[in-house]
Symmetry: C2
Subunit: 401 residues, 2 copies
């Protein structure tokens, strides 16, 4: 029985496991492990209630390579789906190599002590996976993940070449809290407070965090301010689609979010270097995470929709064209289906689909792969069938900014 082992019992892990259980023809055996076994058990209870499927649960400290290797050897999965913290990617990859099992994740490795987002560390595993005859698929969430598949689909079906690509990530949801992040606050704030970077004519252009802003009218959400940011798929897209002149990533934030984040930065609460408190090193951002609402607690109250997509401008038969491809996801629908809001849902469903591509052998190979390297069509079909339907439309011209 082709079993998968999912590591990580946050919102994304919860959605992925629910969706796997809803597709037991593809996933006949599901195991879930996390540092806190009670979180796995709570998800297993929800999965049982919603789908009738029983999943196995385990405790694991994914920082401990030997323990993770032992767990993989015990569970004997065909694939490890890493939905834990990005700090743990390399350790879990090492455990997969030691145990001889394929690997997948949704977010690239970053060192815990610096907000440095790049694929270099994971790309360095290329030879090891190739020599072992194993496959590692990196970044099968929504962004990164679906946004790269959208780009390759546009290139396959709508454009011969892509000249400019903009990824627009809008969360129009309202959780009713003064300030909360929609996924792990520590990871979210590290990302948002990092300098913005975009790719332009073969170079990376760095600008201060949250300084370049544009308004955009998102379908089913309305006009929102969005900010230029760095996001990891920019690196892999620039690498795998080298003809692109400019790639940018934009994320929407409300004024209140920006004010709160600015203050927390001003006072030092987003620092990732330790301060000494009662003789002990504490990282302010990690302590802030302990004070902020648990993202999972926002599920029941979050209303509104997310709208995430790509706008690509390029040539088709010698003529310049611009296409916008996007998914709209409703927070309340997502919560009703899986007990998690749309931010977890839009990452957890693509995680399930990436795993499905691998366990079915639709996407295969030996080595470390990004999403752009495979045929987008089967992935795009599954998005439509499993809760993340997408739309594509031609725009009158490229973005005005």
């Amino acid at each position: 029985m082709a079993k998968v082992l999912v590591i990580g019992a946050g919102g994304v892990g919860s959605v992925a496991v629910h969706k796997m259980a809803m597709n037991s023809d593809i996933f006949p055996g599901i195991a879930l492990a996390s540092r806190t076994k009670s979180k796995c058990d709570a998800i297993a209870a929800s999965v049982k209630e919603r789908t009738g499927v029983t999943i196995d649960t385990y405790q694991i400290d994914a920082d401990d390579v030997a323990a993770t290797t032992a767990l993989i050897n015990e569970v004997k999965p065909v694939l490890v789906v890493n939905l834990a913290l990005p700090y743990q990617d390399l350790n879990i990859m090492d455990a997969c190599l030691a145990a001889g099992v394929n690997y997948m994740d949704t977010a690239n490795y970053e060192p815990i002590d610096e907000a440095k987002f790049e694929y270099s560390w994971q790309w360095a595993y290329q030879d090891k996976f190739k020599q072992a005859g194993l496959m590692a698929l990196l970044g099968s969430g929504f962004d990164p993940g679906v946004t790269s598949v959208f780009a390759t689909w546009l290139k396959k079906h709508k454009l011969d070449t892509i000249r400019t690509l903009d990824i627009l990530d809008c969360n129009g949801g309202d959780h009713g809290q003064h300030f909360a992040t929609n996924f792990n606050p520590e990871i979210n704030i590290r990302e948002v407070t990092a300098p913005a970077r975009h790719y332009l004519n073969g170079e990376w252009v760095e600008t201060p965090a949250l300084t370049i802003r544009q308004q955009f009218d998102f379908e089913e959400v309305g006009p929102k301010n969005m900010y230029l940011m760095y996001h990891e798929e920019l690196e892999s897209l620039a690498h795998h689609l080298p003809e692109i002149e400019r790639i940018r990533f934009w994320m929407t934030f409300g004024d209140a979010y920006i004010t709160h984040l600015t203050v927390l930065q001003n006072v030092g609460m987003t620092r990732i270097d330790p301060v000494i408190y009662e003789g002990k090193e504490i990282i302010p951002l990690q302590f802030l995470k302990a004070v902020l609402p648990e993202p999972a607690s926002l599920g029941p109250t979050t209303k509104g929709k997310t709208n995430i997509g790509d706008i690509a401008t390029g040539l088709k038969d010698g003529e310049e064209k611009t296409f916008y491809i996007y998914n709209i996801c409703d927070h309340e629908d997502a919560y009703r289906e899986t007990g998690n809001q749309a931010v977890s849902y839009t990452t957890g469903v693509p995680a399930m689909i990436g795993a499905a591509m691998m366990v079915q052998g639709v996407w295969s190979g030996a080595g470390v792969f990004n999403m752009e390297q495979f045929d987008p069509d089967p992935y795009m079909d599954m998005l439509n069938k499993h809760g993340l339907p997408w739309q594509v439309k031609e725009l009158a011209g490229p973005l005005a900014f």
Copy 2:
């Protein structure tokens, strides 16, 4: 030799000890103790350099009554001046009773686990001090302290009765930081985020924190927004001047301060109940204190002035009159003289003066006393001579708000 023992080596302790050393005729022997002896030694070095006076330094945990009693017995002071944390007032009073020594402080006791400002706990020591033939003087800082002396001086010299009293505390200083508090951030934020209360016709009227705002044009500072707050001298003034109909306390805050504080409240960083972080109880406000700038570090960069005073309206010979009495203190002058900015200076100088009243026997008695219970004139004279000159002027009428 009449020695005083000062406990607490923050900015206020530093100013008080410097000013005592500058008045060695009144204070021929000075000892300074704190949890962190190195802080005492740094102050002692500055005192030596600025005045030539040598002071003795000691390590003490003022939460430990037995250890504090032993230290008092070793130093043999005639007076203990408590400039430590308000949580420690009762322990230090107990130690003074055990050692048979007079007591003075600048801020009333508050329990560490709730922001509850009231004199009840310290007034409950009345009989113990009386029976021991000892004196305890409560609240000899600026506010509380000088603000109460101002009120009794007005009542002695300018008005027969006071009908309304407003205390206006303006800090027009700019420290050049995004957000910082001018004294212990934990104590400051507890005070500012507590509900506002004012005294009206024998009742306490409570309003939400920072909601009632007025603009006032402060001499040598300019127009500032000030907010209705609770402050501990309201309770003792209402008690000792029972004819007053209304007593209010106002403090100025800039818009940026209010924004920062609001955000920190919104996210839970000002909570004084513990959260669990890595299995350990941590009080968010105490952790925030560890991240914010040390108030002492603001001294060198703070420019501008403080302006703190009382506006009293009442009858004089049957006619209604309004007087405004206030002190203006310059941050840079204060820093030049003592190495501490004006917020510490305006509290530390009155602490020295209160101690002078006691060691010289100008103010004396057995029991627990507030500032309103003594003749204001000698205290007011010392304010003029020791760096906090005051002015009084008659206003055209009562405050319009």
